[in-house]
Structure formats: structure tokens, C-alpha cells
Amino acid sequence: MNAISPDITFDLADTALRELNAALHAATGESNARRWRVLNPNGRHAVAVGINAPLTVEIEGHVGYYCAGMNAEASVIIHGNAGVGLAENMMSGFVHVRGDASQAAGATGHGGLLVIDGNASARCGISMKGIDIVVKGSVGHMSAFMGQSGSLVVLGDAGEALGDSLYEAKLFVRGSVKSLGADCIEKEMRDEHKVLLAEKLKAAGLEGTVDVAAFKRYGSARQLYNFHVDNASAY
């Protein structure tokens, strides 16, 4: 009956954060202890960073900076808000914040899925490198700045300079976009993009609740990052 995993509970009111993180780093996910609960995070920074195993970690409350940073394979669910740099440099796995996320959520992420139930502040998905981010609310300014690959799906609105200096990250916004950043343009939503968007929405648990036709697609105009021989003298 290995499928029924016992809970491991860490109460950060009386346990040092480093004990929690060390225990998470030591866990392989192969034992029964796959389901972890963290109580009283109280805005602490670096909660559940650097996990490298298929664990499930549920955090009961608001967290500070860099929660679930560098995550690989684990599912981290935050029942609260998250501070700056949520799931920063995530490699794989799943991070879900039930409230809002502060700036630079999903920054530099290489893979995995980040779902934000509320709003994300500025620079959501900055320099993203393969992560998929679904924001049910709105995102702040400079989101997906220099995004290289992966996707950012926003059900609400986007702030100023969306996708500035964008490479090949794919951006979908259902609401308004305050302004587009340098070299970011609206692009045609073809069937293949609708299929891709539907996949991301499904992965975020939104299948059948959101109409993919309501979104607009934004991407790189590819004028900034491609080398043009005409510009050789400028280098």
C-alpha cells in the first residue's frame, strides 16, 4: 500500500527553515514520505528551494522571496501569496500559488509549470527559458522580458512593455495589453497555437472553462536578436 503516503509536517514556528530544506534535499521520493506540509512560513525567504525529487509540498501561508526556486520534479503548492522570485530558475515539476505572486515569478525558468491563481507583479517570466506560466489574474510591467522559450498565458491584463526584447517565448493574453515592448508584436492565432494554448490551459486545470479564441498571441518580430549583415558596421 505504498500509494498511501504518510504526511511529514514541518512547523516553521518551531523548526528552523534550514532543517526543512535539508530534509527536502535529502528526500528521494522513493520512500513513502512523498507528501510534505509546511506550516507557519510567515513570509520567510527561500522556503522549499532546490528540491530535486518527485515530492509534493503544501505550504500553508504566505512565503517570502525565491520560494520553490530551482525546483526539479516536485509539486509545490502555496496556500497564500508569494514574494519576489517565485519558482525562480525552475527546471521541471509544478508550482502553484493560490494567491498573488510578487515580481519576477518564474524568472529564468527552464521547464515545468507555474500556475498563479491571483495576479503576478512586474517582470513575470523574465528571461524564461522553457517554463510554462499560467496566470489567472494579470501581470505587471516588463513581463516575459527577453523570454527565450516556453509560454506565458495570462487570463487577465498585461502591464507596460510586454515581451520586451523577446526571443522565442510564446505569449497569450486574454485581456488588454498596456503596451508592447521593443520587438514584440501581436501575431496571428493559427490552429496550431490554439492547440498549444489549450494544452497549457489543460495542464493548469482550466480545460473547458476558458475559450482559447478569446486570447491574442504575441511574439518576437525577430528584428532585434537576428544578425543582419546590413547592421555589421554597428557592431
Binding site: 504566505h62 510578487s102 507583479s121
Partner: protein, 299 residues
Amino acid sequence: MCGIVGLFLKDPKLEGELGAMLASMLCVMTDRGPDSAGFAVYGSGAKDKVKLSLRATASYDFEALAAGLSLPAAGLPGLVVRGTHAIVEIPAARETAVRAFLVERHPEVAIVGTGERMEIFKEVGLPASVAETFGLPSMRGTHGIGHTRMATESAVTTAGAHPFSTGADQCLVHNGSLSNHNALRRALKREGITIETDNDSEVAAGYLTWRMKQGASLGEALDAGLKDLDGFFTFVVGTENGFGVLRDPIACKPAVMAETDQYVAFGSEYRALVDLPGIAKARVFEPEPATVYFWERAQ
């Protein structure tokens, strides 16, 4: 880095706890600013009186100073000495004369702030020791703001500690750094604004004072600052009735707010707010960049 906290009480039942709550918030922000700390508390006051927040050296004889300010008709001014600071309460009608007297006869004493209810205290050292020295935990009031400083633009001195006064019952704390403060300081001095230190935040305070002297409201002055102040800032300004918040358009410096039926609280990080009553059920949010917010009680 620097840490900012602010607390505005909606529920008068908490007024006796204001100092203790603010002290706790301030101490959590120690690792954002271990160099110096300061705070402004809005406590009791009388319509026809003015409180001068004065600062001098350790064991300065404030009683002798107060005696020198007495009038045959009015008697000794109110005096509360707390460490290197003293709050002197005088008839409002005498403020100009007393200020001139202090400047001329007591250059060793700095006037940190004035107002009907505002008291400002600030000193070099860890926030816990600053709060303790001035007895912050036992202070009562309707609202207060505080600052922990990690110095970047000027030296670690008491004069460089925050808050900075911007006018009667008004003060400013700043997290960030301004890059055009030298040019702006020169311009403000030409306009007759007194700026005493090399500190960039004092220039921001002087800028707001200058704008308001020209007739702008505090909100308008803050709005104008978005154009004229080059650099990073999260400002919290204390006012007679509450406090205001402004972040630069890039939102370089953090800010978290929490609101319940009992209070509105500000912290550079959520950590600063976790000991507040009922915080688990508070509405927690980030103020938008380049947007002036005020939380004030109706006049």
C-alpha cells in the same frame, strides 16, 4: 537596501499597542537596514500647541534648554526627554520665535521635526536598540512609520537616519537611491530649502517641502516627484491623518500592504507584518508602481 514599515490604526482600541506593534515590525527589518533606525509616531496633541522633536548629544541638558524657552505667562514648555531626543511642546503662536531662538542660540540642537502630534526619533545602531533607547514599545498613537537604514548614498550618521521632516506633522522614509540628488540639492538650496546632509533621501524630503510651499498638495508633490526624482524609491510619507505610499515606475524596491478592519500596514517585506493581530485573514497586496496611495482617517 533599507526597510520601511508603516501602521495606520482604524480601531482606536489598538492605539495603546501602536508603539509595540511598530517596534516589532521595525526589528524584523533589521537585516534590510542594520546601520540606523528611526520612526515617527502620531500621538496626542493640542490644537494650540506645537511639538518640536529635538536632537542633541547624549546626556544633553534639555531641562536647561526648556527653562530658557519659558515665558512668564505660559510657564515652562512641556518636556519629555528620551535618550538623545526631547519633545518640547510650546504654544503654536510661539513656534517661529522659538525656532529662531534655537537656531541662533542653540546650534548644538537639531530640530528634527515639528507638528501638533508628530514625534520623530532616529539614531545610529540596530533597530532593536534604537526602539529600546527611545521607548518605542510603550508609545501610543493613531499611526506611525519607521525605517531601518542600510546606507548607500551617504555616511552612517544620525543626521542621515530617517524619517526626514517635510513639513508640520509630515515626514518621509525612503528605500532606494536617487541618482540626481546632487543637482537637485543645489537647485533646492537656490530655492531657499535647507538641506543639511549629503543624504539623497533628505533631498527627496526637501523636494516635497519645496513643491508644497509652491502650493501643491502632498499627493501632487509626490506625483511631481515621479518626473523629477531620478532613481529608485519606495517612499512612505507620514501625515497628520495617516500615511501615503509611492513607488518608482519600475517598482525597483519592494512593498507589501495588509489591510484588516483594524488597521492598514505597510512593510518592505511581508515578514515585517506577520506578528500583527489577525494578519492571517488580512487582505495582502502590493501597491502598484507610479501610483500615489493614501490611507487616512476623515478629517
